[in-house]
C-alpha cells in the first residue's frame, strides 16, 4: 500500500482567500484523486489528476474554484479558491494501489470563517 501525506493537516482561513493543499505519495502513481467531505456527510469526488494532462472534474466542481496541479508522479496540489464558509470540509487525496483499490491520505480539515 502507498504512504500518503497531506499538508496542512488543518487550517482556519478567512472568506475570500485561497488555500493550497499538498499531497505527497511515497511511490510513483498514475492516478491521484481529490475528495471533499462536508461536515456530517459522505465523501464526494472533486477531480481526477493524471500527470501530464489536465485534471478531470466531476459534475458540480470547476477548475476556477478548485485548480489542481500534478507536476510529477508523486505529488499533487488542490487549491480552494475564493473561499466561503460552505467550503469548510475535510479534503482528502487518494491513489490507486492496485488495479482499483484506493488508499487515502490523512486529510486536510479546513474551516472558513
Amino acid at each position: 500500500s502507498a504512504v500518503i501525506s497531506q499538508k496542512p493537516s488543518r487550517d482556519i482561513c478567512q472568506r475570500g482567500t485561497s488555500l493550497t493543499i499538498q499531497c505527497q505519495v511515497d511511490s510513483q502513481v498514475t492516478m491521484m484523486f481529490w475528495y471533499r467531505q462536508q461536515p456530517g456527510q459522505s465523501l464526494t469526488l472533486i477531480a481526477t489528476a493524471n500527470q501530464g494532462s489536465e485534471a478531470t472534474y466531476e459534475s458540480g466542481f470547476v477548475i476556477d474554484k478548485f485548480p489542481i496541479s500534478r507536476p510529477n508522479l508523486t505529488f499533487s496540489t488542490l487549491t480552494v479558491s475564493n473561499m466561503s464558509p460552505e467550503d469548510s470540509s475535510i479534503y482528502l487525496c487518494s491513489v490507486t494501489g492496485g488495479p482499483y483499490e484506493q488508499y487515502f491520505g490523512p486529510g486536510t480539515r479546513l474551516t472558513v470563517t
Binding site: M31, F33, Q37, L45, T48, I90, L92, E101, Q102, F104
Partner: protein
C-alpha cells in the same frame, strides 16, 4: 451514476456485541471497499472485496456481486471500533472513480 446504500445509518452497541453492516449497490462493480473513518477523520482501509469473503481479526466481509450487496461483520465489538463505516464502489464503466455510500455511524459503549 451508481447508487450505494448503506444500512443501518446509525448503530449503538454495548462492548462485546456483534453487528452486521450492509451495503447495496445498483450496478456491476470492479471494486468494493470498506473503510473505517476514525474520530480524527482518517480513512482506514478495512477490506478490498469486489467478490467473495475475507476475514481480518474480528472483522470479516462478504460481497455477493451477482446480487449487488456486501456485508461487514464486526464481532466482539470494542469502544475503539466506534466511528463511521463507509462502503465505496467503482462502477465497471467508470474507470477508477470511487462512489461512497452515506456511511453507518457506529457507537460502541463500554
Amino acid at each position: 451514476g451508481i447508487q450505494v446504500e448503506q444500512s443501518p445509518p446509525d448503530l449503538i452497541l454495548q462492548e462485546g456485541a456483534n453487528s452486521t453492516l450492509r451495503c447495496n449497490f445498483s450496478d456491476s462493480v470492479n471494486n468494493l471497499q470498506w473503510f473505517h473513518q476514525n474520530p480524527w477523520g482518517q480513512l482506514i482501509n478495512l477490506f478490498y472485496i469486489p467478490s467473495g469473503t475475507k476475514q481480518n481479526g474480528r472483522l470479516s466481509a462478504t460481497t455477493v456481486a451477482t446480487e449487488r450487496y456486501s456485508l461487514l461483520y464486526i464481532s466482539s465489538s470494542q469502544t475503539t471500533d466506534s466511528g463511521v463505516y463507509f462502503c465505496a464502489v467503482v462502477k465497471k464503466t467508470s474507470g477508477s472513480r470511487l462512489t461512497f455510500g452515506e456511511g453507518t455511524q457506529l457507537t460502541v459503549n463500554p
